[in-house]
């Protein structure tokens, strides 16, 4: 088996706070294969965005990486000198941010922003760089690229701006795009178009995608494999189909039943009680135990480990961090009993 394009091992990120430190990412390991699209799902505060930013050395102050290693093509790049490391990371990955307006330079023509990397990094001439930029604009579905090359960010709509950002991310010819909630600030009709652009990149250009989102539906539209994060840890991973048809972690299970589906209406949404734990404290036991409908005494004491669960050999490894994973088949029945009991 060839080494994955990108691998992260046991990443820890801390944010120093006035009272102690906030342990925001608590040992995340993940991998993305060549031309694979992977989703990282979690709600705010789960550490998904920090994980993504840590990868490119874009952590906001004062957050810092405590430990962990990043492997590109199986080679550990963590120990490289800062400049080389930066070069290695930016050669491999491009990033798309949530808010396209603040991510772009407001006083520079959008075309020049796309051409900047080919010009400075890939050593192209001015006219070559411009041609590359116009090609990229066509590729991300911007009509009339020659005219739009000359415009400034504020002259473009939200969807167009996000496409410019995707074009910039592609301008260094990366093999992987990291996207942090790329459609959250967009209207649904525009969101559908941007998701289409991302999907097409994977199909036509063999560019991998690591997409971070709080919205399972958005992720399911673009990714084939998922990591679900909760309180700074990956609690479940596996293929999209496995995760949404037969979740093996109570958090994924509850999330799927608490989010309304546009396709049909349910009698009552499942509610997840309480809130995520405070990450400045050490967490004893399972971090989801306090909100879990199936938690028992040992869940509050023992910390579950992310372990492979019943996958057939040769398939994508399915992992879950739940002590009661053996009862997963009965969860649906258990929840419906409970809601009946409440009424």
């Amino acid at each position: 088996m060839t080494a994955p394009l990108l691998e992260v091992r046991d990443l820890h990120v801390d944010i120093p706070m006035p009272h102690g430190r906030l342990h925001a990412v608590r040992g995340v390991s993940l991998s993305v294969g060549v031309a694979e699209s992977v989703g990282l799902v979690g709600e705010s505060g789960s550490g998904k965005s920090l994980t993504l930013r840590a990868l490119l050395g874009l952590l906001p102050r004062p957050a810092r990486i405590v430990s962990g290693s990043v492997l590109i093509d199986g080679e550990d790049v963590t120990g490289l000198p800062a400049k080389q490391l930066h070069r290695r990371l930016t050669d491999t990955m491009g990033m798309v941010f949530q808010d396209a307006l603040t991510a772009l330079n407001p006083v520079m023509r959008v075309g020049d922003q796309i051409a900047e990397a080919p010009l400075r990094k890939l050593g192209k001439s001015r006219s070559e760089a411009k041609a590359v930029a116009i090609d990229l604009m066509t590729e991300v579905g911007i009509p009339d690229p020659e005219r739009r090359y000359q415009l400034y960010p504020h002259e473009l709509s939200g969807g167009m701006r996000q496409r410019i950002c995707i074009a910039i991310a592609l301008s260094t010819k990366p093999r992987l795009i990291l996207a942090d909630e790329p459609t959250t600030a967009l209207d649904v009709t525009i969101q559908a178009q941007v998701l289409g652009v991302l999907r097409r990149l994977k199909q036509d250009e063999n560019v991998g995608l690591l997409l971070v989102s709080h919205d399972l539906a958005v992720v399911s539209q673009t990714c084939s494999r998922l990591y679900v994060m909760y309180a700074g840890k990956v609690v479940e991973s596996g293929t999209l189909l496995d995760l949404i048809t037969a979740p093996k972690h109570p958090y994924t299970f509850s999330l799927l039943r608490s989010v309304p589906d546009p396709g049909h209406r349910v009698a009552r949404l499942l509610t997840i009680h309480g809130q995520p734990p405070d990450l400045t404290d050490a967490i004893v036991g399972c971090s989801f135990a306090a909100r879990c409908p199936f938690a028992e005494e040992r869940c509050r004491q023992e910390e579950p480990v992310l372990e492979p669960v019943g996958s057939a050999p040769g398939t994508v490894i399915r992992k879950s961090a739940c002590l009661r994973v053996d009862t997963a088949e009965r969860w649906t029945a258990m929840v419906s009993e409970e809601t009946v009991g409440q009424q």
Partner: protein, 349 residues
């Protein structure tokens, strides 16, 4: 259905005129009027939840705020329980229509405890005798599912979901019959949204409230509302029973909106970007010869063309005159502002 209306909105418009600087005025520059809400007819029946959906900037929040009375009306009228709501509302009307705001972080006074916030309302409006205020406070907490000790806390001590519960308690303190909820779950995390949706559903049943639920989230609206109205650029373009509207949208914009909503893709359920893009392609439609013709004939006739024409894949000559809501011949509970609605009869026999 007639006689069952609690609230009717007739031709409501709310325009905003930005200030023009003195120098610009000297040169005779006219302000550009923003027609945020531009002629809306809406009916809210007793005890129903009406979903109001649309994309950002379509005027749904402005409409909600106008109904509550936070904005004056540029044109049109609002009737509450059959009576015309004047610019200066009667006490009963002010109490009866209450609002839940989107952002539970900025809509509560950070320096007041929940008890102070609620007591102030109850005393000011003299809703309960002074010695019963405490009791009513506890009742309200119970109603929105917060513990009694929450009364002694300030907004910052609550999580987003709890704060939204306080926001709901604040609205309910005035014993309203109509609740306008403007994006009440949009600021909340996905795992907390369900709590508030369920709470609103319960309250609506228990207190026989009539609710207008404003949201950009189609899935949430489908879950909570009995009827849905779709807004586009300041007008209602389609309204009907939620189930039928979602399953069989009539207006091209509703179709686009519903097909754009990402769904959990279990097996090949992917929203086809090309189909959506083709349907919404602003640029593509710009080259549509029919569109230019419509704009031309609208200009000659002094009418305004259908506001969706520039994005619509099905423009015809008749679109030069903006249609008002036309009742679907197959379903009297449904209407859409599209010239194609009348043809619907032939499609489904």
């Amino acid at each position: 259905m007639a006689g069952n209306e609690i609230l009717t909105v007739e031709g409501l418009a709310r325009h905003f005129t930005p200030p023009v600087s003195v120098t610009d005025r000297l040169f005779g520059k006219k302000p550009v009027v923003n027609r945020a809400v531009d002629g809306v007819d809406l009916v809210l029946h007793k005890g129903e939840t009406l979903g109001l959906v649309g994309e950002s900037g379509c005027g749904k929040s402005t409409l909600a705020r106008s109904i509550v009375g936070l904005y004056g009306l540029t044109a049109g009228a609002i009737r509450y329980d059959g009576e015309l709501v004047q610019a200066k509302r009667t006490r009963a009307q002010r109490l009866a229509i209450q609002m839940v705001f989107q952002d539970p972080f900025s809509s509560l006074n950070p320096r007041m405890t929940v008890e102070q916030t609620l007591s102030e309302l109850l005393r000011f409006h003299k809703l309960v005798p002074r010695n019963k205020v405490g009791e009513r406070n506890r009742e309200l907490m119970d109603l929105v599912g917060l513990p009694e000790r929450a009364l002694k806390q300030r907004p910052r001590q609550f999580s987003g979901g709890q704060r939204q519960r306080v926001g709901i308690a604040r609205a309910l303190a005035l014993e309203p019959t109509v609740l306008i909820a403007d994006e009440p779950v949009s600021a909340l995390d996905v795992s907390v949204q369900a709590n508030i949706i369920n709470l609103l559903t319960d309250l609506q049943e228990r207190l026989h409230l009539s609710v207008i639920f404003v949201s950009h989230n189609m899935a949430v609206v489908r879950q909570i509302s009995d009827r849905t109205a779709v807004m586009y650029r300041g007008r209602i373009v389609e309204t009907g029973e939620t189930e039928t509207l979602f399953d069989d949208p009539v207006h091209p914009y509703t179709k686009l909106l519903i097909s754009s909503v990402p769904r959990l893709a279990e097996a090949g359920d992917v929203v086809e970007p090309d189909a959506v893009a083709a349907e919404s392609g602003v640029e593509a439609a710009g080259e549509n010869p029919m569109l230019a013709e419509i704009i031309g004939s609208a200009a000659r006739g002094g009418t305004s063309p259908c506001r969706y024409a520039d994005r619509c894949p099905a423009v015809v000559a008749a679109c030069a005159v903006e249609p008002s809501l036309i009742v679907d011949p197959r379903d009297s509970g449904r209407s859409a502002a599209c010239v194609h609605v009348a043809e619907r009869k032939g499609v489904v026999a």
